[in-house]
């Protein structure tokens, strides 16, 4: 951003919109934008970025949950992290923001499917799952389960900005932001709007097989390009223990070494593995709290270990 910014249609020798000479150089004479440049209006910081910064000042840790690949468990991991964080300490306030606009899953996973969002003087009130766990998603704003959000990029960006500026979260210790797959509008918007807001970093979710890692490497490349700190990578669905014979088998084979090997290659922290537990999938479908439903699941121990690693990563 620090280089000279010259619009495509600017006259020759344009000093650039951010220059001190903007609107005042000899080349500016006759340019239709001379007035705007001279007024200094284009030089200030993007007002939306400032607004997001102010609105999220009461939020201690802001974490993005990313993955280049779909269906690897971003939303499930987000739900598990938020529930575990909230359950561990009743004085800790946790919130989930679902910025997957076309396929919101958080309302179902957190068991608040048919709730509604209310408007108050200080903004939208999120939906509360527990006393210290709230969630906001476009799912609450849709009329029916079949309603599709057929939007191009700019409209999705507007929605994300509204989510970041207009939700009344109150004081929060953790805000987890669940994203759609890819490296496009939603991701760029979130990273831009949060660029001044002291983002803690990104947790990346993957599954062990190469076809997922391939897309996840792209997401890591994206984070490096836009300067998002990578808190670490979680490998989900690694290993499946047969409920009848208790023998573990690899459904999604780590034929290229899995997430651990990728983390070594790309020099990012590895946060841990989550086993594939069909009971977790069922809890998610039914929106039940897995901590109370299946307290013996190996996934609970694993997620708590991962949380410890995330907290360590944030402090570094």
């Amino acid at each position: 951003m620090s280089e000279v910014q010259v619009p495509n249609n600017a006259p020759e020798h344009c000093p650039g919109t951010q220059s001190d000479d903007a609107g005042k150089a000899s080349a500016c004479a006759g340019c239709p934008n001379q007035g705007i440049c001279a007024s200094g209006a284009v030089k200030g910081p993007n007002p939306d970025i400032q607004l997001v910064k102010e609105r999220l000042e009461q939020v201690q840790n802001k974490i993005l949950i990313l993955s280049g690949k779909g269906g690897v468990g971003k939303s499930t991991v987000t739900a598990m992290l938020s529930r575990s964080l909230a359950a561990a300490d009743a004085n800790r306030n946790v919130a989930v923001l679902d910025i997957d606009i076309c396929g919101p899953s958080q309302p179902r996973l957190l068991g608040v499917l048919n709730e509604q969002v209310h408007q108050s003087g200080s903004g939208w009130s999120p939906v509360y799952v527990e006393d210290n766990l709230s969630v906001m998603s476009i799912g609450f704003l849709l009329g029916s389960q079949d309603a599709a959000v057929i939007w191009r990029g700019p409209k999705k960006n507007g929605m994300i900005k509204q989510f970041l500026c207009e939700v009344d979260w109150g004081n929060l210790d953790f805000l987890l932001m669940d994203t759609p797959p890819g490296t496009s509008d939603e991701h760029l918007s979130a990273s831009t709007y949060l660029s001044e807001a002291n983002l803690s970093g990104a947790v990346i979710v993957t599954t062990p097989q190469e076809v997922a890692l391939l897309d996840v490497r792209k997401e890591i490349d994206f984070c490096k390009k836009v300067n998002i700190k990578i808190l670490g990578v979680i490998e989900n669905m690694s290993g499946f223990v047969c409920p009848s014979c208790k023998v573990e088998s690899e459904i999604f084979k780590a034929n290229t070494g899995g997430a651990r090997k990728m983390c070594e290659d790309l020099n990012v922290p590895f946060l841990g593995q989550l086993p594939l537990d069909p009971r977790i999938a069922r809890c998610c479908d039914e929106g039940k709290d897995f901590i109370t439903e299946i307290p013996d699941s190996p996934a609970i121990k694993a997620i708590n270990l991962i949380i410890e690693n995330i907290l360590k990563s944030i402090k570094v």
């Binding site: 690949k69 269906g71 309603a147 057929i150 792209k218 999938a281 479908d285």
Partner: protein
């Protein structure tokens, strides 16, 4: 645009990671084995998987006077593939594009690829109902699109997004050929007990609810995941997956 293509089939799903690309590639390979000339277009720009799944990574797209020449999987040029993966220098580099740029790329893929004469063009899509999908739908208005194959996995959380995709098809007038339920049931290699990891029956429930045919139910089969470029109908002709792909192809050729 696409004048010499007889049938265009979209592979869609609102949800990611349910097996769109696996179904697309196996569908293309099955059609090829049946003697058809097939094209496979991957319009997932941020996460192209087709080059890897067909073991074509590192291949280059060439230019000819008629346009881009797709990458062929075989010497007989029975299966041509186009993906943004062929245009990237490094398999790890990301495509960080907003909508308008993606739209332009998809449009170019639809207009500038020289497929030659094709019996089937299969279009593999990214998850969602946004730029890529709107662009394909708008452009396919000019050519006859035979319809969409919807891929889902059985659990509620996937079905929820797939219902949105079906609404998208209905709103935009894309006919739906049917639903494929993927990842339903895993047979434990040790005790051969079938376990429904991601629950079961979601696809048939959806097909009943919305009156859309269920084309088949694919189990989780790590062998199919490891095929990489080979057709399951050839390598594992006795597997459930092979039978289902035969069924799907029959349904498609009947439909179109």
């Amino acid at each position: 645009m696409l004048e010499n293509v007889k049938h265009v089939i979209l592979v869609l799903s609102g949800k990611g990671g349910v097996g769109k690309s696996t179904v697309s590639t196996q569908l293309a390979l099955t059609l090829k084995e049946k003697g058809f000339k097939v094209g496979l277009l991957d319009i997932d720009l941020c996460g192209p998987s087709v080059p890897y799944l067909l073991q074509l990574e590192g291949k280059d797209v060439h230019q000819c006077p008629q346009g881009w020449v797709p990458v062929y999987t075989d010497a007989g040029q029975k299966l041509g593939v186009m993906s943004i993966g062929f245009l990237l220098d490094d398999r790890n580099s990301s495509v960080v594009w907003r909508g308008p740029k993606k739209t332009a790329m998809v449009k170019q893929f639809l207009t500038d690829v020289y497929w030659g004469d094709l019996d089937y063009l299969i279009i593999d899509t990214p998850p969602g109902t946004s730029d890529e999908h709107i662009t394909v739908m708008e452009n396919l208005k000019q050519v006859k699109c035979d319809g969409a194959v919807i891929v889902t996995s059985p659990q509620e959380v996937a079905i929820e997004d797939v219902r949105k995709e079906i609404t998208f098809c209905k709103k935009t007038g894309i006919p739906i050929i049917g639903i494929v339920e993927n990842m339903s049931g895993f047979v434990c290699p040790n005790c051969t007990e079938c376990i429904n990891i991601f629950s079961s029956g979601g696809g048939s429930a959806l097909s009943n609810l919305l009156q859309i045919p269920l084309l088949g139910t694919l189990p989780i089969d790590p062998n199919v995941g490891a095929l990489l470029g080979k057709a399951c109908v050839v390598d594992f002709p006795e597997s459930t997956a092979a039978k289902v792909f035969h069924q799907i192809v029959d349904a498609i050729s009947k439909e179109v």
